[in-house]
Symmetry: C2
Subunit: 289 residues, 2 copies
Amino acid sequence: MVENYLLEQFVAFAEHGTLSKASEGLHISQPSLTRSMKKLEDVLGVSLFHRENSKIALNETGKIAAEYARRALDANQEMIDHVISFDRSLRTVYVGSCAPLPINDIISTLQERLPGKTISTEIVTDDEKLITGLKNRSYQLVILHHYADENALFCQRFMEEQLYFSVPEDHKLAKKKSVTFEDIKGLRILMDRNVGFWMEICRKELSPEDLLVQDSFDAFNELVQASKLPLFNSDRFLSRGYEAPGRISIPIEDETAHASYYLTCLTSEQKAYRSLFNAVRGNVLQNPH
Amino acid sequence: MVENYLLEQFVAFAEHGTLSKASEGLHISQPSLTRSMKKLEDVLGVSLFHRENSKIALNETGKIAAEYARRALDANQEMIDHVISFDRSLRTVYVGSCAPLPINDIISTLQERLPGKTISTEIVTDDEKLITGLKNRSYQLVILHHYADENALFCQRFMEEQLYFSVPEDHKLAKKKSVTFEDIKGLRILMDRNVGFWMEICRKELSPEDLLVQDSFDAFNELVQASKLPLFNSDRFLSRGYEAPGRISIPIEDETAHASYYLTCLTSEQKAYRSLFNAVRGNVLQNPH
DNA sequence: GTCGATTACGTATTACGTAACAATT
DNA sequence: AATTGTTACGTAATACGTAATCGAC
């Protein structure tokens, strides 16, 4: 068995070409490297270098040894990476959601009810992908906008969201009590790309080319301020007083403009998340629709 | 970077199941192992064991870590094996020969003229395989029984051998001055398997089923003593006085019963073996045919 | 009481740095 | 002169063994 610190120093020499350069890279002294290289030759019982006066270079055996040493170090690093990654995965709850808003709403409850766990969240537009991910353990929890009627899944409604249409006060629709997707068809509408499944809804109900989709939230926000273009809003934002200045938000009548969110886990893991599900049940009771 | 002595001890524990058994296998004390395992957890920043009172076992992370640790150790061992093997190959001259006798004759000269080298010899019946091996560097030197007329090969005759037929003194052929393969056809003949290309010659000139081939030289020798079966001999043995008691050896007239041996190397390596070739040239001059 | 694991302490190894030296450029 | 590698020596880190302690079967 050859200790890895020797191989590490050996590979560093092979890459730097001289002991002094390598010793700098390794943050050790040159004499220390000299000794290590001799020790490596000693434990292998093999000559690895051409030495003449103040020159040292790999010989043929040394070149081969450097190759294999790299592989041995790679295997070592691979072990470290995999073990640390697996260990982290044990402490992490992966949450997939069909939309960003329910994540914002539930994240503090997650942290409170899953103490010591790291919460990792991801937006996935397609409910089916979320369910698949739940089953293959890519996610421990997913947030759907449909009830999942399967024995293997434990599914609980925990939040509602109503889509609003936001226009400048002087817009021709500003006076209306409510609108339909039909009413706003043909208008160019500003949208943030990161809205999860809502993007699908809007594409279906309106003409995709009318949607001015912004990749970054910053760009979207800037355009909200700088333009009079209509956009979508949500009761969850409005109830917290989030309304762009000089705009009015009007509820959209269509059924598809209303969403119910369902927190879902595997039935087999239901027990581990009991406290969490109890906590979010309170939510929906306070906001009955 | 995790040092290999830790991985070695960790894998030993994974295999033995308890620290005490593992420490015995490793020839270290139990307390030392306890500390090493803690250190391993410390450098990885990860828990690897279930501990309760005087019990310790791998947890899930530990099982995965053991797998990867094994691979890392394997990569390390692989490096050691390959480097040592390559180093040895640099100090070794591999010699292939079409027959055992010329090897015996030349081996002391090889050792004398290739100081510091390990001589590794092998009998290969087929001259073509020897030439191929020379070209792909499996052999540095080969001994052929035909001249190799190629620019890439340097080929020098260095020894002759004459095949004799050895019979008991009271054998019907014992009085003859010489015999031919034709004369001895039909006789059952005792043979050692390890005679190189001579086996091919005998198979061609005689009936293969008449050859009583012995796998081990000991068995062959025993049968020579215990039986009156005829066998082959060689002028090289006879000139040193090797003759089985109560037997007479008669030269075989056929051309195929005479062999010339050619020491051969790659022309590109001729220089490295100049002294050797000069030394064996003396041989053939003393024994002109 | 025995066996297995851990803790505490002393020791021996050894990897490292500093300083001095030798040899090239 | 500046750079590179080696040797000599002292030091600090650390891996190990021994002895003692704790728990469980």
